[in-house]
Symmetry: none
Subunit: 248 residues, 2 copies
């Protein structure tokens, strides 16, 4: 197998799995461990991944995430269903805003065949969009460590030059009377700005976020449609306040 082909394969594996073991790559390529080591060094030097003991990670993976060789498949299925429901709402020609977050990240693979332009404030999103060859603009601003998102006043200013057909946002708290909330005020500012600039906004949350309240208010429930997977009682309850899509 050609060097280039191997590199391609490695990056593909990383785009799918976030983390790959050395042995996996060796098996998939049929090359020796030495060769894969060299490949990983080169790809790291070029800034395409990060080596870790035992393999490599996508260079946007939070390194202090616990035990990253095990899949945290608890909500992975749920996330994927939500992401798919969101992707179905996107049509060719649209300008789409994708907020930072693991659920919005899960949308990207479903965008590959669509002729759209994406704007994001998330580094992991940008990396993944790049890999999937989707035309992308990144909002400038201060890089926040914990979420790897670009936030703050500069980010808001940078966004104001764009307008979106649709915006997809992650959120930490969704509550009937307190609306959408998130821990960091600077991040809240960015989310709020995105909603202002979009013709239509969707908030993607797994059911653990429902009935939760976080520190900073982003907007009232009216401002966006909720996409989630939850019981029909919860769905009925929230439907009183705004549109709800149940991706169950």
């Amino acid at each position: 197998m050609l060097t280039k082909k191997r590199h391609q394969l490695i990056l593909e594996l990383l785009a799918r799995e976030e983390v790959v073991k050395m042995q996996t790559i060796v098996d998939q390529t049929g090359a020796s461990e030495s060769t894969i080591r060299r490949d990983l060094s080169q790809l790291e030097a070029a800034g395409h991944l990060r080596r870790v003991h035992g393999g490599a990670t996508a260079n946007h993976l939070q390194i202090d995430e616990p035990s990253y060789f095990e899949k945290s498949d608890r909500f992975v299925e749920e996330k994927d269903r939500i992401a798919q429901a969101a992707a179905d709402l996107i049509e060719d020609g649209m300008y789409v805003y994708l907020d930072a977050g693991t659920t919005t990240l899960a949308i990207v693979p479903y965008l590959e065949q669509k002729a759209i332009t994406v704007v994001t404030n998330s580094l992991p999103l940008a990396n993944t969009l790049l890999y999937h060859r989707i035309p992308t603009f990144v909002v400038g601003g201060q890089l926040k460590h914990s979420t790897q998102a670009l936030v703050g006043y500069n980010a808001r200013e940078g966004m104001l030059i764009y307008h979106f057909d649709v915006a997809f946002l992650g959120m930490n708290g969704v509550h009937p009377t307190q609306g959408f909330t998130t821990p960091d005020p600077e991040e809240a500012l960015v989310k709020k700005t995105a909603i202002e600039l979009a013709k239509k906004s969707y908030v993607l949350v797994d059911e653990t976020k429902l009935d939760e309240i976080s520190f900073s208010r982003v907007a009232s429930l009216r401002a966006a449609t909720i996409i989630t997977t939850t019981s029909s009682e919860q769905e009925a309850k929230y439907s009183q306040y705004t549109e709800v899509v149940n991706a169950k």
Copy 2:
């Protein structure tokens, strides 16, 4: 089989597979290895594909710089010396601009102990800075695939709100009379803007870039100090035009 027919077949294979082995082409055409080598050379010269060891790869972006992993192994030591020399120029409290590029990427590990703020237009740089926990701002703009950098008009606009004590730039061409050059005009605009906004600018290049001219002009040699590793003759020659730091 006619030359024309062979060329057509090769391009067809590449349209389907992205990467093609020499042996595959030999088998499909029935021609000798030598002939296929010649074909590949010609097609590369015409800009229709890119040769790699063992075969060829598709060249979707017709006019573009050498791909990301080229030379990344051979010049790794040289790059590191250049990066170290650059890092030595950075003092606590500085606001630093780091341009996209593998040499600037190599600076980051040396910044860990310094109390600085970094601004960059490069996704890999941003990821690595994040990893090393260095306060970072990212310039917004259009995400360019081949270099993973943020470029274009929006990037320039986003930069204008900052001012830098020092800027470190990668470059593709350095020439006594033609100055600093780079293949992509949109990237050139960003580099030029960085130089304008910085009190002092440094261009980091391995010696293969000296005496080279690329498509888009960034600035004259006077605009920045060159950090490189090269012979004393080259050093003397370029010292006539601007300050040169030889990291040998």
